[in-house]
């Protein structure tokens, strides 16, 4: 809407939109990118919303018992450098 309200200026009062058009870029190219980006972002938006819903429906994870890692057999022979990453991709 900011783009629509600004028309017919690309820089308000200084440069009309018609002066900002790239002469070398064809209509086909602009169409390909417009449709392409719309599809990409639409596709990713659907995935994102579905992941959000899945996480919400999954509820909060249980908090692991505090002494799970700091005591017991897991500690012996396990130095800090050998422990699994706290966050991993």
């Amino acid at each position: 809407f900011t783009e629509m309200g600004r028309q017919p200026w690309i820089v308000f009062g200084l440069m009309p939109t018609s002066a900002g058009v790239s002469p070398g870029t064809t209509l086909t190219e602009v169409l390909i990118s417009l449709i392409g980006f719309t599809l990409v972002y639409g596709f990713l938006a659907i995935i994102e919303v579905r992941l959000l819903l899945k996480t919400i429906h999954g509820g909060l994870p249980e908090i692991p018992p505090a002494d799970d890692e700091s005591t017991g057999a897991g500690m012996t022979g396990t130095t800090e450098t050998e422990r699994p990453l706290a966050f991993a991709y």
Binding site: P23, I32, I47, H57, G59
Partner: protein
């Protein structure tokens, strides 16, 4: 020194930073398919670049932004002329970035396979297309008297530029394999070394052929002597890197591949100077540092901003690398999926 020359050098440095840094994470992205034997190993590879790939990518935004502000005519001709290739690069980078974040969000194997494809293609396509783009810039494209690109998309797919694409792909793959050997432990480290040597030999042959062909393309350039010196230094650095990886000196090898990429990018920019985009129609139509630049006042403001903020950026980016400096092995990969809930909800 004129400010236009300063900004030409700064933009060269930004592209060097981009290719040296994102080069290895593109390489690792491609290697997720070539080197990893199972899901855990694939996750080891992804986690070597996990904390740094997005910071690496910012370099290209700054390079593009600096070109926009310092050389608007260069930016306009380049981004309009290379419209579709740059669109493809952007789409690849979007899917690749999302893939790193999304692949662990669901436990199904098919879900991960799709995002693994996105990581592979999203790393391979930009690695290839950046080389094609730079090949075309150095070779010269059809630019008319109005500083407009008048060629077509298919003109960009000439043999010289395509060889440039092979150079970046093979160099980034070598750089990535060396990075993996530097950042992992165990079996995958040994295999990364062996692969780095194998791909590196191919990369060296392709890169030397490209650099010689570039000499042929730009032999009348004003600074061709400097080009030759930098190109030879780039080739020697790559050879030194391969000798180092063979000897198991991974740190030196990484320094070598980084230097090879940096020197090769520097050589290409030197071969252009003072042109920024040579015209293949008439040398008089070429874009140069003077006819494509902003006003001196704009450049003065930009120089002050760069002088103040560049050290800050370099400091915090180095900090990321220091924090995440440890090697990763299969033993460090937690078995649980990141967000696998332990309590299942009612509507799953």
């Amino acid at each position: 020194m004129e400010l236009t020359t300063v900004w030409f050098i700064l933009i060269t440095i930004l592209w060097i930073g981009y290719f040296v840094l994102e080069g290895f994470d593109f390489g690792v992205g491609i290697l997720t398919r070539l080197l990893a034997r199972d899901e855990t190993e694939r996750r080891v590879l992804i986690n070597t670049i996990g904390p740094v790939w997005d910071g690496n990518e910012v370099w290209v935004l700054v390079a593009g932004g600096a070109t926009f502000a310092a050389f608007p005519e260069w930016y306009a001709t380049l981004f309009s002329g290379f419209y579709l290739p740059l669109f493809l690069i952007l789409v690849s980078l979007i899917f690749r970035g999302v893939a790193f974040e999304y692949r662990g969000k669901r436990p199904e194997a098919s879900w991960r396979q799709w995002w693994d494809r996105a990581i592979f293609a999203g790393s391979l396509v930009p690695a290839l297309l950046w080389g094609v783009a730079f090949g075309n810039i150095v070779r010269g494209v059809e630019i008319d008297a109005d500083k407009e690109f008048v060629g077509s998309f298919f003109d960009l797919l000439n043999p010289y530029a395509l060889l440039g694409g092979l150079v970046t792909t093979s160099l980034f793959l070598t750089h990535g394999a060396v990075f993996v050997s530097l950042k992992t432990t165990g079996d995958i480290r040994t295999r990364a070394r062996a692969l780095a040597l194998k791909v590196g030999l191919a990369a060296a042959a392709i890169a030397v052929a490209f650099l010689v062909w570039t000499y042929d393309q730009r032999s009348d350039a004003p600074h061709i002597g400097w080009y030759v010196a930098l190109a030879v230094a780039a080739a020697l650095s790559l050879v030194a890197a391969l000798i180092a990886i063979r000897a198991g000196r991974e740190g030196w090898a990484f320094l070598g591949t980084a230097a090879a990429i940096a020197l090769a990018v520097a050589a290409l920019f030197v071969s252009l100077f003072p042109n920024v985009m040579p015209s293949s129609i008439d040398p008089a139509f070429s874009l140069t540092t003077s006819n494509a630049s902003s006003t001196p006042y704009t450049l003065k403001i930009m120089t002050w901003v760069a002088v103040i903020f560049t050290p800050v950026v370099l400091l915090y980016q180095s900090w990321t690398y220091i924090v995440f400096r440890r090697r990763i092995g299969v033993q460090h990969i937690p078995t649980a999926v990141a967000v696998e809930p332990t309590v299942s909800g009612p509507t799953r």
